[in-house]
């Protein structure tokens, strides 16, 4: 049975500085999304597009400005504190930076055992076993060798594995990971994505990955899963991952994919990477009009400056927000 | 370079402490500390050793009952050339009465002519102060303070009236009081804001030196060319350095920065100073006071004579003296009778004295006394008959280093005898507070001090009526057994006061008082305090008199008077 785990309805995020509207900064605009158990979802966008903000709002680390968020069908603003205590551990978050998200002076055992004690109420020998089990699961082996080590004894990939293991201590149903591979080495990135795939397959965990590496997104959603492309806090394209990444419709997505390096030297040498008109990240205020991408888009028209395109369905599992698609 | 400069000009460098800023107005901000005696003159100086009055502003005086007629010196001029007259004296008296509320002992002051003033006093007790106090004669020259003179006179008058009415137990009307307060405040406001320096550009004074420059750390006085001794005087300027600490003064003496000072100095330091500066000489003269152990009689324990006696026998006063101020006159193997050792011969015959108990260290005797009184030694600690240990603190005024050293030694001696004794420092500024509120057990204090009127009466008054009595609460109205029967010290003092000029009678009474003091120990004198006077002979000035010279006995309570005399008479003069 597919259970609806997280739902965002018309979520907006505005950072306001003082009362002057001009200084308000729209970071997320009308975000709608649903997440079911066992889903894979990738949110793609460049720096400053609002990916982190979206992820943090999803796990309730940050308040939204407008809209509603539901966890397991319940509006999170109306949760009793008991419900909150029960529900929030089910939705876990993995930080981008595996160096900062682990306590530097706690042993690996302690990092895993403390939340286990607290959430699963396990003690003694069981605690030890469970810890080992978790470490094996994320591929930190030999597990008992690492138990008394500190995070700095691990490589970047190892640390990210540890952070993932820690997020598993609450037995979550959703894991939202914010750029989990951006701080780790190329050659290890694949293993982390593979790990997420495994968790998704074996435990039916819903996984939300925030990525800017399109190749990784494609690899992750290859078997199943959706992709959301964010631009200027807006979803500009959304749908089945492999479809969008192989056949993008929105001009931004196109440029993005076109810019991604490819591993064919012959092709690469001769291909012309499309250049945008501007590389600035747009700052949207409540007064901004038009499509956020219009200032950089190579095929913009007057309409784009005036009217902000809505997300519309162009085929099954594929929605685009562009006047020309 | 400073050495040369100083040597070339004819000046004397001294040290004292003064509250800065000084506006040239002794009723206003600040003051001049020791420089006072160079600027203002009393009617006369008094030499305790010879009992002689040295005329200053007064050439002569006649005492007639409560009236004192003072003949002013005729050739006295202020440093701005104005003549000093009876009007100035009257104005000064009005001023101090109006602004300080003192001395109401002067009922009235009148000028007979410009050189004769007549004072009407409330009692003859005040004569000595009248003649010798530096404030009464010359503080407020009329030509300087004329703007306030009338007002001052009025305020002084009302103030006196209120005072006398109160003394006589009469009622003082509210209205009168209010009127007084209002007028006195008004005057005070005006006078306080008055800067003589600013208004006159100088401070006209009657003394031999006029202040010309007063800063926070140094003070410069220049010779008063109109002074009656000007022709004899060979020193032009006096520079005062601030006496910021004893160490600073030591250092200044070594480095010839100052010419004379009287800081307490340990023996070894003195030796070393002589090595470093061979011109440095030291003499010591009596400070006309003694350092004593005083008891708080409000605390039950000290009412026990046995305890006090034992303490007197436990202490080795020689050692205490050595440690704290080695030049002082030792009292070891001596009496505790309230007379200064250096003056003793004048007042008590040797033969009579021998009948008194001598206190020299004798621990066995002390133990014996205690045991007889029911004290017991237990575990090395003496206990009272009620079982409590003999436990007390000795308070000592922190800033005086000789006192602190003495206290440390006393504590140690009592401790090793088996008393539980601790030492407590009274920090600067707190002495008055602590002593007066009786917040002490035993303390180090001046016992008898004779600086005022050098007569045993002064000392006994202190012990049984005055400052010390107030602090200790010794029951001086009670009667004490003496060879002459039961006597109360308070009564004896009254008697002595009445027979002050009857030498034989007075001696008799003094003997009785001495006996009581010695036997009943309201205080235990430790040593007779001396002023160790250090001077650089032959660096800037020379001519310092011999240690025996009676002039030194003028030093206690204002050593600058001695310097003033020495300079004025040309005894002290610049090196060639």
């Amino acid at each position: 049975m597919r259970q609806k785990l997280v739902e965002l309805v018309n979520v907006n995020k505005i950072f306001s500085k003082g009362f002057i509207k001009k200084n308000h900064k729209i970071v997320l605009e009308d975000i709608n999304l649903e997440l079911f158990s066992g889903d894979r979802l990738v949110i793609i966008g460049e720096s400053g597009m609002g990916k982190t903000t979206l992820a943090r709002i999803m796990v309730n680390l940050e308040p939204k400005s407008k809209g509603d968020i539901y966890w397991m069908g319940k509006n999170i603003n109306k949760l009793s504190s008991k419900e909150k205590k029960e529900l929030s551990p089910k939705i876990q978050y993995v930080h981008q930076d595996p160096y900062g998200s682990l306590h530097p002076s706690k042993t690996i055992f302690k990092i895993l055992a403390d939340p286990l004690k607290k959430n699963e109420k396990i003690v003694g020998k069981n605690l030890y076993n469970k810890t080992l089990e978790l470490m094996e699961k994320v591929g930190l082996s030999p597990a008992d060798y690492y138990l008394n080590k500190y995070p700095h004894h691990l490589s970047g990939g190892g640390r990210q594995r540890l952070a993932i293991a820690r997020s598993l201590t609450t037995n979550p149903q959703v894991i939202v990971a914010d750029e989990p591979i951006s701080m780790i080495d190329m050659s290890l990135r694949t293993t982390i994505i593979e790990l997420f795939k495994e968790l998704n397959n074996e435990d039916n965990l819903a996984i939300v990955l925030i990525l800017h590496d399109i190749g990784a997104a494609k690899f992750f959603t290859y078997e199943k899963g959706d992709v959301i492309i964010l631009y200027g806090g807006k979803i500009v394209e959304k749908g089945r991952g492999i479809k969008i990444l192989s056949n993008p419709k929105h001009p931004y997505t196109k440029v993005l994919i076109n810019s991604t390096p490819i591993v064919d030297p012959e092709l690469a040498k001769n291909r012309k990477i499309e250049q945008l008109r501007s590389y600035e990240v747009p700052i949207r205020t409540p007064e901004s009009k038009g499509c956020p991408f219009s200032h950089a888009c190579n095929q913009f028209a007057q309409k784009c400056l005036e009217e902000n395109p809505k997300l519309k369905k162009i085929e099954d599992n594929h929605e685009v927000a562009c006047h020309f698609c | 370079s400073s050495e040369k400069e100083s040597v070339n000009s004819n000046h004397l460098q001294l040290a004292t402490d003064w509250p800065f800023p000084f506006h040239g107005n002794p009723f206003g901000a600040g003051g001049v500390g020791g420089a006072w005696w160079f600027m203002y003159e009393p009617f006369a100086y008094y030499l305790p050793m010879t009992g002689e009055y040295i005329p200053r502003l007064a050439e002569n005086w006649e005492i007639d009952g409560n009236d004192v007629k003072v003949y002013l010196r005729k050739d006295v001029k202020f440093s701005d050339g104005e003549l000093f007259t009876a009007e100035d004296v009257i104005n000064t008296v009005n001023f101090i009465q109006a602004l300080w509320g003192w001395p109401y002992d002067i009922k009235e002051v009148k000028a007979i002519d410009s050189n004769t003033v007549i004072f009407t006093l409330t009692s003859t007790n005040f004569v000595h102060t009248l003649l010798t106090d530096g404030a009464i004669a010359s503080l407020a020259p009329l030509h300087v303070y004329s703007d306030f003179a009338e007002q001052a006179e009025e305020v002084a008058k009302i103030g006196k009236e209120i005072f006398y009415r109160q003394i006589e137990g009469q009622e003082v009307s509210e209205e009168m009081r209010n009127q007084y307060n209002k007028k006195a405040d008004e005057l005070a406001q005006k006078v306080r804001g008055f800067s003589v320096f600013n208004t006159f550009g100088r401070v006209p004074v009657v003394g031999s030196f006029e202040p010309v420059n007063i800063s926070q750390v140094e003070m410069k006085l220049e010779r008063n060319k109109y002074h009656w001794l000007n022709s004899k005087q060979k020193i032009d300027d006096i520079i005062f350095k601030r006496w910021s600490s004893n160490e600073y003064v030591w250092a200044s003496l070594i480095s010839n920065e100052i010419d004379a000072a009287h800081p307490n100095m340990p023996k070894d330091v003195v030796e070393q100073l002589n090595n470093l500066n061979s011109r440095l000489k030291v003499i010591s003269v009596s400070d006309l006071s003694d350092i004593s152990l005083i008891f708080n009689f409000k605390k039950q324990m000290f009412n026990d004579l046995a305890l006090r006696k034992s303490i007197a026998y436990i202490l080795n006063r020689d050692t205490i003296r050595d440690v704290s101020s080695w030049q002082a006159n030792s009292y070891e193997n001596y009496y505790a009778y309230g007379l200064l050792k250096s003056m003793s011969n004048e007042w008590i015959d040797e033969a009579n004295l021998n009948k008194f108990t001598k206190y020299s260290q004798n621990k066995t005797l002390a133990e014996q006394i205690l045991e007889e009184a029911g004290y017991k030694k237990d575990n090395g600690i003496w206990h009272q008959s009620n079982g409590n240990p003999v436990e007390f603190t000795i308070s000592v005024y922190g800033p005086h280093n000789d006192w602190v050293l003495a206290a440390r030694e006393i504590v140690q001696q009592l401790k090793s005898f088996g008393f539980k004794v601790d030492m407590k420092l009274i920090p600067e500024g707190m002495r008055d507070n602590v002593m007066r509120t009786g917040d002490y057990d035993v303390a180090i204090e001046f016992g008898t001090a004779w600086w005022g009127y050098p007569h045993p009466l002064t000392g006994y008054r202190r012990l049984y009526e005055g400052d010390i009595a107030l602090i200790t609460g010794f029951p001086s109205t009670e009667k004490y057994l003496t060879p002459w029967g039961e006597l109360a010290p308070k009564d004896l003092i009254e008697e002595l006061n009445n027979n002050l000029y009857d030498e034989i009678k007075a001696k008799e009474i003094i003997e009785k008082l001495a006996y009581i003091t010695n036997e009943y120990l309201p205080i235990i004198p430790i040593k007779e305090k001396v002023l160790p006077i250090y001077f650089n002979n032959g660096f800037r000035v020379q001519g310092w008199p011999d240690e025996k010279d009676p002039i030194w006995s003028l030093a206690p309570g204002g050593i600058e008077r001695v310097y003033n005399l020495l300079i004025g008479e040309g005894i002290l003069y610049p090196i060639e």
């Binding site: 876990q92 682990l102 306590h103 | 070894d268 070393q272 050692t319 707190m430």
Partner: protein, 292 residues
């Protein structure tokens, strides 16, 4: 438990022993602490003065010579170490305790309460501490304060800088991601405060504790010097006072060793504290030791 001890040893003690500076500092402090604890039991002291034997040169009988009263200086130093060291340690302890509590609270509280605590800290920063201490001491002068009260009195004027630093540290630690992770993992506030945050501050706090010893030493010596603390003849501050002011040891050739040995011990003790704190700083401050 044993494991914890091992880890503690490995993390905190071992690095200190390995570092030359802190080891030396530790030795000095350890020496004085031992002296304070056992010295007075092992070495007797006769305070009775013996004026004739004053200012004896250091010798076998009197390792530091005798003072102005003819009393053995070494023995006095030993007996005085107890007061000096207990006051210094206690006062440092209290100031660090207050500083930590206020600092951590401030770091964790935002908004109005935080601002208020800020002002509170700032107030204690701007009031000059030594004169204020003098006044406080004068106020309590006749109250016969015991060591604990006295050290509290000193600590009151020393905690503020630490509180300020700690609050800044907590503020940055608070925004570190592992704190957020702890919150997401449902960990309790005490866990976050004491396990997550305080754990990182321990080296820092320790460092400050050692650093404070210097100031408290100076303060307590100053207090005795000015006669505002309970008078103890063997307190080093009092000995210094005697040497410098009462006995004028600086001014005589004979008495120089009197002054010297007192100052020597004060300086050595403080120097030990400074060395240890330097060492602690090097060992625990990641910026100074590189990221190993």
């Amino acid at each position: 438990m044993i494991n914890n001890l091992k880890i503690f040893y490995h993390n905190y003690i071992n690095p200190l022993i390995v570092n030359k500076k802190s080891l030396f500092g530790l030795c000095i402090l350890g020496f004085y602490i031992l002296m304070a604890i056992f010295g007075p039991m092992l070495i007797t002291l006769d305070l009775n003065s013996n004026f004739a034997e004053r200012y004896q040169r250091p010798s076998f009988k009197h390792p530091f010579g005798t003072d102005y009263f003819g009393v053995d200086i070494f023995r006095q130093i030993v007996h005085g170490s107890r007061t000096v060291i207990s006051l210094a340690l206690l006062a440092s302890f209290f100031s660090v305790l207050i500083g930590t509590i206020v600092g951590v609270t401030r770091g964790y509280l935002d908004g109005f309460m935080g601002k208020i605590i800020d002002i509170f800290i700032m107030v204690f920063l701007v009031i000059p501490s030594f004169p204020a201490l003098l006044i406080l001491a004068a106020i309590f002068m006749d109250k016969e304060l015991n060591t604990i009260q006295l050290s509290l009195l000193v600590a009151i004027w020393l905690w503020a800088p630490l509180a300020k630093q700690i609050s800044a540290q907590v503020l940055t630690i608070k925004s570190r991601e592992f704190i957020e992770a702890s919150r997401l993992l449902n960990m309790s506030l005490p866990y976050i405060l004491f396990s997550d945050i305080l754990k990182l501050l321990i080296p820092y706090i320790f460092m400050n504790f050692v650093l404070q010893i210097k100031s408290t030493m100076e303060f307590s010596v100053g207090l005795m010097f000015l006669g505002l603390a309970k008078f103890e003849a063997t307190h080093w501050g009092v000995m210094l006072n005697y040497a410098l002011y009462q006995a004028g040891a600086l001014y005589t050739v004979k008495g120089f060793h009197y002054l010297f040995f007192v100052i020597f011990n004060i300086v050595l003790l403080i120097y030990g504290g400074i060395l240890l704190s330097r060492g602690v700083e090097e060992v625990f401050n990641p910026r100074l030791r590189g990221d190993q």
